[in-house]
């Protein structure tokens, strides 16, 4: 149980990788949930609803890609929800001032990356535990966004291209889904097929060994923090665009959804173990359940309870299975 395989085996086929993890269980759960809901409510598999689910998945998945890498390096970022709201406000403000969506988007992403950089520096230079450090920056950002603007900042110039970021389509596919897909594939390639990806696993599995082997562990962790921050910038732009405003109260609890999805996907909180395919499945499971509760017209408060139960149950099953394997 102690010595888990730290990095994914290089030569493993896709099927082999799936069987070797809890991903088969997630796929099965996803199929059962989808079939169950579809039988009860046929409009679940209408194209409008599927697109709605995909758009929800996209927002979470974008940040979850960074969070997966961060957890693999054995760090965590709880400030992503607070940062998400701040990004939207900053981007909207810059757009209103400069009348340029491009500059606004750039400012939003740069702001997110800056938050990531600050988090990373606090963790790697000041050696503050990342859970505490990012609770601290979460508070600073939550307070800061209200000091910055008490009300939602509207899209004063009514620039349609800003609305397109979140609500636009390329053919039948929503733009956020395309953005999420590109980010997912890029992250997947980096994590599985580059030395950088292997180094991230190495740092998380055993930081001291990695350092003694000559890896620049603080730079690697800093990279994961900044990447996560920049991806929060991208997701914040999409959220701001969907609301067509910078909303200071947005993003409450977003950090918990992202972390729940990543952990559900089999990434370990103690670092060195995790896959992006698992994260993808984790996001889908949570968001399909979310959507199912709406189309089934169940009480929406179940949207908080069910993910909590699913999260604990999934980890419980995982531990039981690993114990059975060890026997």
């Amino acid at each position: 149980m102690v010595s888990e395989v730290s990095a994914p085996p290089k030569s493993a086929s896709l099927v082999g990788a799936l069987v070797g993890n809890n991903q088969i269980v997630l796929v099965a759960a996803l199929v059962v949930i989808c079939v169950g809901i579809s039988l009860a409510v046929p409009q679940f598999y209408s194209s409008a609803n599927i697109i709605a689910i995909l758009r929800q998945v996209a927002m979470v998945l974008i940040v979850a890609c960074g969070m997966t890498m961060l957890l693999i390096t054995a760090e965590v970022d709880l400030s992503v929800g607070a940062s998400l709201a701040f990004v939207g406000v900053v981007a909207m403000d810059v757009i209103n001032v400069t009348d340029s969506v491009f500059l606004g988007a750039l400012a939003g992403i740069a702001f997110g990356a800056l938050v990531g950089l600050v988090n990373g520096l606090i963790v790697t230079r000041l050696k503050v535990n990342s859970l505490i450090a990012t609770i601290g920056t979460m508070m600073i950002l939550q307070g800061g966004v209200f000091l910055y603007s008490r009300e939602a900042i509207q899209n004063h110039h009514h620039l349609p291209s800003f609305v397109d970021i979140g609500a636009g389509y390329v053919g039948p596919v929503p733009i956020p889904v395309i953005v999420a897909a590109v980010i997912f594939i890029a992250s997947y390639v980096v994590l599985r097929h580059t030395t950088l990806g292997r180094y991230l696993f190495a740092v998380g599995a055993n930081e001291k060994t990695a350092r003694l082997s000559g890896l620049r562990t603080t730079w690697l962790k800093l990279f994961a923090f900044v990447l996560t921050g920049a991806l929060v910038g991208v997701a914040g732009l999409i959220l701001g665009s969907l609301m067509n405003a910078g909303q200071p109260t947005a993003g409450r609890g977003f950090e918990l959804t992202v972390i729940a999805a990543v952990i559900l996907g089999g990434t370990s909180l103690s670092g060195g173990r995790g896959t992006l395919i698992g994260t993808l499945l984790g996001v889908f499971v949570l968001k399909v359940i979310d959507d199912g509760i709406i189309v089934l017209q169940w009480n929406q408060d179940l949207q908080m309870i069910v993910p909590g139960v699913v999260l604990i149950a999934a980890i419980y099953l995982d531990i039981l299975r690993r114990r059975a394997d060890a026997r």
Binding site: N129, A133, L269, L302, L311, Y316
Partner: protein, 332 residues
Amino acid sequence: MPQSSSIAARSGSQVTDTFATLGRRQEIALVLSIFALIAFFSFTSDYFFTVRNLTNVLGQGSLVMIAGIGVAIVFMSGEVDISVGSLQAAVAIPLIEVMNATGNLWLGLAAALLLGLIVGVINGYLSAYVGINSLIVTLGMLFILRGGVYLYTGKTAIPDDAYLESFFVIGNERFLGVVPYPALIALILLLGFMYVMSHRPFGRKVYAVGGNAEVARLAGFPVKRVKFTCFIISSVMATISGILLASRLGSAVHLAGIGFEFQVVAAVVLGGVSLSGGVGSLLGMALGVLILAFMSNGLGMLDLPTEWQLVITGIIIIIAVAFDEMKRRRAG
């Protein structure tokens, strides 16, 4: 290893141990910060340094202090508990509902404690015996309890219709007209648990288990049972703070305690209780609570937007932990 030497410090076998003096120095630093804060805010506001206001601060800090006792003990055992905010809201429901139905305070308290115990047993069982990371368990519990509260209340408050005098008194009145009852309860619990943590075998077991679970297990400590007990203590403490909050609000409020877990964690780490387990003291935690309470009270009196409190608290936490870490490295 810092952990093993801090265990030695606890047992008092090494008088010259650097960590014992470090710990004491930290508490002195915290006390000095409190004096500095009081001096500063007395200067900025005439009302700050009055008996009425200072005791008010104690009353406001007491809920964090009570829950902080439990969370600090869980931290010391090397685990975390972030479900206390949701639990605070959840226990108010059986409390108010049972009191409304029976008109009996004790039955209401028993119902609230029962829920707290159940949550503690679940958190403790899943974390200590099953071995699920306690951050995940209590994160899940945070969701489940908050969702349960929304579901049950339909996102409104359930008012206290029993109007029991004794229930009103515990959260709102003052002992001898001076000390708020929540502060008195917090003080009694604090002293009791300080005694347990430094003079009873259980306290030593918690430090040993948190310092190095594997060594503690080999030394014959019942690691799982100790951790399990810590989670139950934490849930019971959160329950008590939830009861006092419900008395103060006069109802079970669905939004009660949102973000409370972060306030508690902030106070605990500010007080020098490490997230990695095995170090820290309840006295330090209590001083951390007081610093944050004085800060929030004093800043409230300056004409600053209230959000500054969040920002400054966040900065203080980071600086405090960074400073702590620096000292530890220099000493080690």
